[in-house]
Every structure is written in structure tokens, then in C-alpha cells.
């Protein structure tokens, strides 16, 4: 059988969701933001909630998410996404509202907004892309940077004596009573993409049931900031990020999972 006989409409098994625009993503080659965007949009499409969903784009590399996600979007100042999401959700409790934030945005300048929205149990979904550094501004140390990890502001590696320890935001917010579903995922292999998509779906379903805040961290590469090829970066991520930021559900049905 020839390739041209296989490439027919009736044999189609995968194509880009229509909820991503046709604009070329502004991300570096191999950056995890692209897959994360796609699976969030696939979930919204499959749940049939595109007309009823409002996304909040942060400051960071994903500042232009509203150019790529073909739904109603709001772009907000650095770290303020959970506050804006709170306002929108309280005005329109029937809408699905989610934030999409990097670790600099969510765990540094926006720590307060994140923690208080989680503690209040706002009925929103937070998608948290953790690549361990400030990607957009040139790979500076973030609160999430691993001990010993090199960044442009820690060229000899993060010294915890001097700079403190990294913060695990996802475990931290799991301890707040307002959060209902909390998970940490990745998007670098076919299996991890499938799992991350399931977690995002569960997060939006939590919102549908008005159960409280749902929060999905995606441990991702910033290959440009880490100064590696995309393949090297994903390998480095498996060897270094996952032991510190283990993947899997952390809180399900409002209960922290014993590990």
C-alpha cells in the first residue's frame, strides 16, 4: 500500500485541534509549552466547553497564549492570574475559568495570589508550567530552581545556604483546604502526554462539579534557558527534575494521597 492511499480523510487519526489558532507558536523548538497548550485545548474541545471557557495568560514566555488558544482569553500583569480568574469566575460562576502560568509567575511574583486563591477554594483551574527558571527573561534562578542547578544568575549552581531551598508549590497548596484536585505531570513522552491530558480533564471536571480549586503542575523543559538541545533537556529533566518534583496525583477528591 502506498502512502498516498493511506493519507485519506477516512483514515485520519490525529490532527491539530481547531481550538489552537494557525499562528506559529512563539516558543523555542522543543519547548514543552507547545504540548501543554495543545492538551489544554484538546480537553476543552472534547468536553464541548469552548464557548464557556475563559483562559488567563500570564507574563512569561506564554504571555502570548491568547494568540494561540482560540477561546476567550485575558492577559494579566505578572503573577496576578489567580486574582483575575477569581474576579471573572465570581462574575460568571457558570463559565470555566483557568490560568496558565510559569513558575516565575506563579511561585515568585504571584505567590500571594496563588496561595490565597487556593486557600479560598476558588472554583478555578490553575495550569502551572514548571521549568525551574525564568525562561522569557534569560534563564534566571526562580524559586523552583533545583539545588545546585545552573542558571544565568547562579552560574556555579544554586547554593541553598545562600539562596534558600526551592519551593514545591504543588505540595504546598495541596495542604490548603480549598484545593480539591492536585496533580503533577509532564509532557515529554507519548505516555506522559496522555497522563497529563487526563489530569487536565479531571481538573476541568472538578470545576464543573464546583468542588474547589484544581491545580495541575506540568514539569517542563526550558531547553534554551538550560542551554541544551530539546532531547538533552528532556533527559536532564527526567534525571534531575523528576526526583525532586515526582510525577503523579497529589490530592484527589479533596484528600492528600499517602505515598
Amino acid at each position: 500500500m502506498e502512502v498516498k492511499d493511506i493519507i485519506k480523510e477516512e483514515n485520519l487519526v490525529f490532527k491539530k485541534t481547531g481550538l489552537l489558532t494557525d499562528k506559529i507558536l512563539s516558543y523555542c523548538p522543543g519547548c514543552g509549552h507547545g504540548v501543554a497548550h495543545r492538551i489544554v485545548m484538546e480537553v476543552i474541545e472534547e468536553m464541548g466547553i469552548a464557548e464557556d471557557t475563559i483562559g488567563i495568560a500570564p507574563v512569561g514566555c506564554s504571555v502570548l497564549a491568547y494568540e494561540f488558544m482560540n477561546i476567550d482569553m485575558q492577559q494579566v500583569p505578572h503573577g496576578r492570574a489567580p486574582a483575575t480568574a477569581t474576579g471573572i469566575k465570581r462574575c460568571w460562576p457558570d463559565k470555566f475559568v483557568f490560568t496558565y502560568q510559569g513558575d516565575g509567575d506563579l511561585a515568585a511574583i504571584g505567590t500571594s495570589e496563588t496561595i490565597h486563591a487556593c486557600n479560598r477554594g476558588e472554583n478555578i483551574t490553575i495550569i502551572f508550567i514548571n521549568n525551574g527558571i525564568y525562561g522569557m527573561t534569560g534563564g534566571q534562578m526562580a524559586p523552583t530552581t533545583l539545588p545546585g542547578m545552573k542558571s544565568s544568575t547562579t552560574p556555579y549552581g544554586r547554593d541553598v545556604e545562600l539562596m534558600g531551598n526551592p519551593i514545591k508549590m504543588t505540595e504546598l497548596v495541596a495542604h490548603l483546604p480549598g484545593t480539591y484536585y492536585i496533580s503533577r505531570q509532564a509532557v515529554h513522552t507519548p505516555l506522559s502526554v496522555r497522563r497529563a491530558k487526563k489530569a487536565i480533564q479531571k481538573a476541568f471536571e472538578t470545576q464543573k462539579q464546583n468542588k474547589g480549586l484544581s491545580f495541575v503542575e506540568i514539569v517542563s523543559n526550558c531547553n534554551s534557558g538550560w542551554k541544551m538541545t530539546p532531547i538533552q533537556a528532556n533527559k536532564w529533566m527526567e534525571e534531575n527534575m523528576f526526583p525532586f518534583y515526582p510525577l503523579g496525583d497529589i490530592k484527589v477528591d479533596g484528600k492528600i494521597i499517602d505515598k
Partner: protein, 76 residues
Amino acid sequence: MAKVKGAIVVDIKRCKGCELCIEACPTDVIRMDTKVNSKGYHYAYMEHPELCTGCVNCALVCPDSVITVYRTKVEE
């Protein structure tokens, strides 16, 4: 016996040459073209189309969603 045959179509002008699809393909179908697109990136293509099973692994990991996948069954 029925055999599964697949094929991918790469949107060449949007491919960024990251090679993550090569890494994800279990049957080693994909290579990077020596030519580049208008952005200057080498782009993915099927070097071994006969080995493609249409498993969609490459499309799942492609950050730029440039891979479309087709699959069909053929009687041997």
C-alpha cells in the same frame, strides 16, 4: 492477516526541527530533511514510510502540533 499501516504528514513550514518526534517514534520512521524551511529549520519527514504504524506517538510529543497522522488496516 490484517496489518496496520500508517502515514504522517508534516506541515513543513511550521516544523521547528526539534527532533522530539524522532525520539518518540518506536519504529524509527522519521528523519530531518537536509533542506530547511523559510524559518531556517530542518524539518521532519518519513525516511521509512513502510515502517509507520500510525501510532500517533510523534504527533503527541510535537510541541508545534505540525504532525497529522493517518492509519488503516490492510489484508496481507
